[in-house]
């Protein structure tokens, strides 16, 4: 996902899913047996006080006057004291920036890109069912840092990875990525692990090349995105792993030879545990 979303800009859910799929495709090259990526997992926004919505008397009247009145309400919030610092808030600016950073990491609403603009004269309230069913959150309530790195963000065990910033001694602001750093785009090559033997994209991000936490003696959780027909040849693990099927169908067989007739079908919700060798 190489594009940056400007402040206030909106994207559609299709664009977001395409970007997420692109990231998932790129992490198939992580040196593991299969891809590790988080699917787009949409959550409800819903209402803080859902019971209030059931009574129409609690709602704003659906008339042309309501948007105008809301605009008037907004006007009352405009600071009219000019540049007089006496009217400035005592709250540190970092509260605003950091608060909004957190906001962007836990909420991303993708539906409004296709809705009527708030300033449009034809603006009308959305039906409750549409709000509940269609207005979805593409982020999670946890601070995943996916607004910065997309998923999976680099972690150090249960914590976020902390880096250090050191001065470069260069007074010129770098406007380009240093040569050999960051995105690597070697030529695409065919892979036998993708359906149709299509070439897979080879670009990786530095965060994704980081040594995975799952190689350390710590609790780990990861998600794997397997394309249709993806085969995992006979193997074993040195330690117990627990597998939950989130979506799709995962067919598992026991033995040291791949045998498509000796399977156990695992559907979403199924938890399987693999014993040690």
């Amino acid at each position: 996902m190489s594009q940056r979303l400007g402040h206030g800009e909106t994207i559609t859910i299709e664009q977001f899913q395409e970007a997420r799929a692109s990231v998932a495709e790129s992490v198939t090259n992580v040196p593991l047996a299969f891809a590790a990526a988080q699917p787009v997992d949409l959550k409800d926004f819903d209402f803080m006080f859902p019971k209030l919505q059931k009574n129409p008397n609690n709602l704003l009247p659906e008339t042309a006057a309501t948007p105008a009145n809301l605009a008037r309400l907004g006007q009352t919030m405009i600071d009219n004291v000019g540049n007089d610092p006496a009217g400035d808030s005592d709250i540190s600016a970092i509260m605003t920036y950091f608060g909004q950073f957190i906001d962007h990491d836990i909420t991303l609403e993708l539906t409004s890109a296709d809705l009527t603009r708030l300033t449009s004269p034809s603006l009308a309230p959305l039906p409750l069912a549409e709000i509940r069913n269609n207005i979805r959150n593409a982020r999670t309530a946890t601070l995943d840092l996916d607004s910065v790195y997309d998923l999976p963000a680099p972690r150090d065990g249960d914590k976020m990875v902390l880096g250090k910033v050191s001065p470069t001694g260069n007074a010129n602001i770098p406007l380009k990525r240093p040569k050999g750093k960051g995105l690597q785009r070697p030529a695409a090559q065919p892979s036998q692990h993708r359906p149709g033997n299509r070439p897979r994209r080879q670009h990786r991000r530095s965060a994704q090349r980081r040594e995975p936490d799952r190689r350390r003696k710590v609790f780990f959780t990861m998600r794997l995105l397997l394309p249709d027909g993806f085969k995992i040849q006979p193997h074993w693990h040195p330690k117990v792993e627990h597998v939950t099927v989130i979506s799709g169908t995962f067919n598992v067989g026991m033995g040291d030879k791949f045998d498509q007739t000796a399977i156990r079908k695992c559907l979403p919700g199924r938890l399987a545990s693999g014993r040690r060798k």
């Binding site: 036998q192 190689r215 397997l226 006979p234 979506s247």
Partner: protein, 37 residues
């Protein structure tokens, strides 16, 4: 315990456990981490 698997339809799995998580293929040539000739 040696095992194998395949996905029908695009499939998302969640794995959890205590690391180090490693995978060893019965046939080393099946290991997709190794470059193919």
């Amino acid at each position: 315990m040696k095992h194998f698997a395949w996905a029908k339809g695009e499939t998302v799995l969640q794995l959890h456990g205590t690391g180090p998580w490693m995978i060893t293929y019965v046939n080393p040539s099946d290991d997709p981490r190794k470059p193919k000739d």
